[in-house]
Symmetry: C2
Subunit: 324 residues, 2 copies
């Protein structure tokens, strides 16, 4: 075995595990033991592992595992969220924890704008018409909604929300936002604050959800909220599926309470094939790809590596340490 | 017949003619004779028609027709382009001509950004995966290209090109452009001029064609140009299909000389169903919907109406008169 630090990761798998892109990057710095190799012979590895780098919540880091790894210094998750980690347990064993926030802000904001535009301009149905088996009519009047100059309501004005606002402002959109607190820098994107979500919704042509999922934001969007929106409104969610009561959304779509929904996230993911949302012609759903660009994913991997190397050197400050 | 001015238009047809949206607007101001009604009884109408408002080049305005219409004042095309009109012939009969430029700049620029984003982020294939019949794998690593922070080359830097640049700049893109002449206001969008198209192409992650179709720009993009692009490049065309040599594009796509093409325009439109471009998995095509938003189309109709009313009043200046 080489003298590189030994780290435990998820399995390598091009569609459902660590991609080659990450493997190459990780192996520049570490001797990498993927979860399936580890499972075959854990005793040999336990004494050498100095870091665990979970990807899409795998491997699951248990207390038993931590107790078996005397040299473990850090759990460096390749993700912004860390609700898959038992933070108090890790802290009780003096294991450091890091995540990879912010590096995915641009990609996720971009995904939100992509979905709003694609829904507005009928891109998916357009490709079906222009490239489908049936010789199309001219369809010159298949009118889309226009994003440029519209009113966009952003729900959750963190860094991703601000990145959406910055982009929408260049389309001459009027920006409204709902957030726990008013932002002091709202003027930089010309955004107007609404403390009351329900007051904002009737004013929006587009509603863009980028709020973090918490107990307060779970099912923030119910049938009632969709009923408050314009009949021409396009609802976009790039946060987490559970911010939406999907039964309420389904009812609203079937009753044409809104024009369209465009979803990067659902609950669960993927939806079971018999789910009624998949039958809605006024809904587009993509896999949870908010951060899924090569550039951003590589950036996340590199940030996790950076955090790990810093922790192994004993740096007091990591690029992105999780304390709470 | 009412005392409203009598105008000749194309037929009413929701998909292939004048939509209800236009009919309602036109009938506020005019007694409207659609082409099919006119054909049934032209003699009665000829003496009354004061304006012709072509939509998607129909009705075709012939010299015979003009000679039969003694009160005809203006041909007010509901379009930016006017290559479907015989300008010298109309001028020789002292018929005024107007078009509807600029009102569609935002919608067309928006369509370009929509297509670049949808191609980059795999939106069309994403919907197929997330909503298709087959239970999808998680596909967490289906990496897209990132538009944010990329280098975008705009070919044809008129008002639509500038509107694309303004939007791309908000995604922190580096903007390059090729145009007949360098723009004095290029700094307003931070754009860098390339006199030589072939010098610009190897530098671009996205190439966005918004150039007018002329003898010089016909087949501006041949196999050679695609071969100069990055293998990861995304090529987007929202101008006219004939700016591209489609055989060259097809060869480049089949040889993966570029990552993807996203086309609002083809030659012809729609493509025949056996056209090889329709089989390319690295190409998305939508119907020619650059200006196809309700807001913009209504704006075009209203501008044509405005031009007509101004001409009927004898105004010396129309909102948008065609002189050449």
């Amino acid at each position: 075995m080489s003298s590189k630090p030994v780290v435990l990761t998820g399995i390598f798998h091009e569609t459902n595990g660590l991609p080659k892109l990450f493997q190459d990057e990780l192996e520049k710095h570490f001797t990498v033991i993927p979860e399936d190799h580890y499972a075959a012979n854990p005793e040999n590895a336990d004494s050498q592992i100095v870091a665990i780098l979970p990807w899409f919540a795998k491997p699951v880091v248990t207390e038993e595992m931590v107790k078996r790894m005397p040299k473990l210094v850090i759990v460096a998750s390749i993700s912004a969220g860390y609700n898959h980690l038992d933070v108090p347990m890790l802290k009780s064993h003096n294991i450091r924890i890091s995540n990879t926030p912010n590096v995915l802000n641009d990609a996720t904001a971009e995904q939100a704008v992509t979905l709003m535009l694609a829904a507005a301009r009928n891109t998916v149905v357009g490709v079906k018409i222009a490239m489908g088996a049936a010789q199309p009519e001219l369809n010159i009047n298949f009118h889309g909604r226009q994003f440029s100059g519209s009113t966009v309501g952003i729900v959750g004005m963190g860094r991703i929300g601000m990145a959406v606002a910055k982009r929408a402002a260049a389309f001459d959109c009027k920006i409204l936002y709902h957030n726990r607190s008013q932002r002091s820098d709202e003027a930089s994107v010309g955004a107007t604050y609404f403390k009351d979500l329900n007051e904002m919704l009737p004013l929006c042509d587009f509603i863009c959800v980028v709020v973090a999922l918490t107990a307060e934001t779970r099912h923030l969007f119910k049938y009632e909220q969709f009923s408050l929106m314009k009949k021409t409104a396009i609802f976009c969610n790039v946060s987490r599926g559970d911010t939406v009561d999907q039964d309420g959304l389904l009812k609203a779509l079937n009753e044409n309470k809104i024009h369209m929904a465009a979803l990067d996230v659902t609950s669960p993911e993927p939806l079971p094939r018999d789910h009624a949302l998949l039958k809605c012609s006024n809904c587009i759903i993509v896999p949870h790809w908010g951060s899924a660009t090569e550039k951003t994913r590589l950036g996340m991997c590199q940030m996790a590596i950076e955090n790990t190397l810093q922790a192994l050197k004993g740096d007091k400050e990591l690029t992105s340490e999780v304390f709470n």
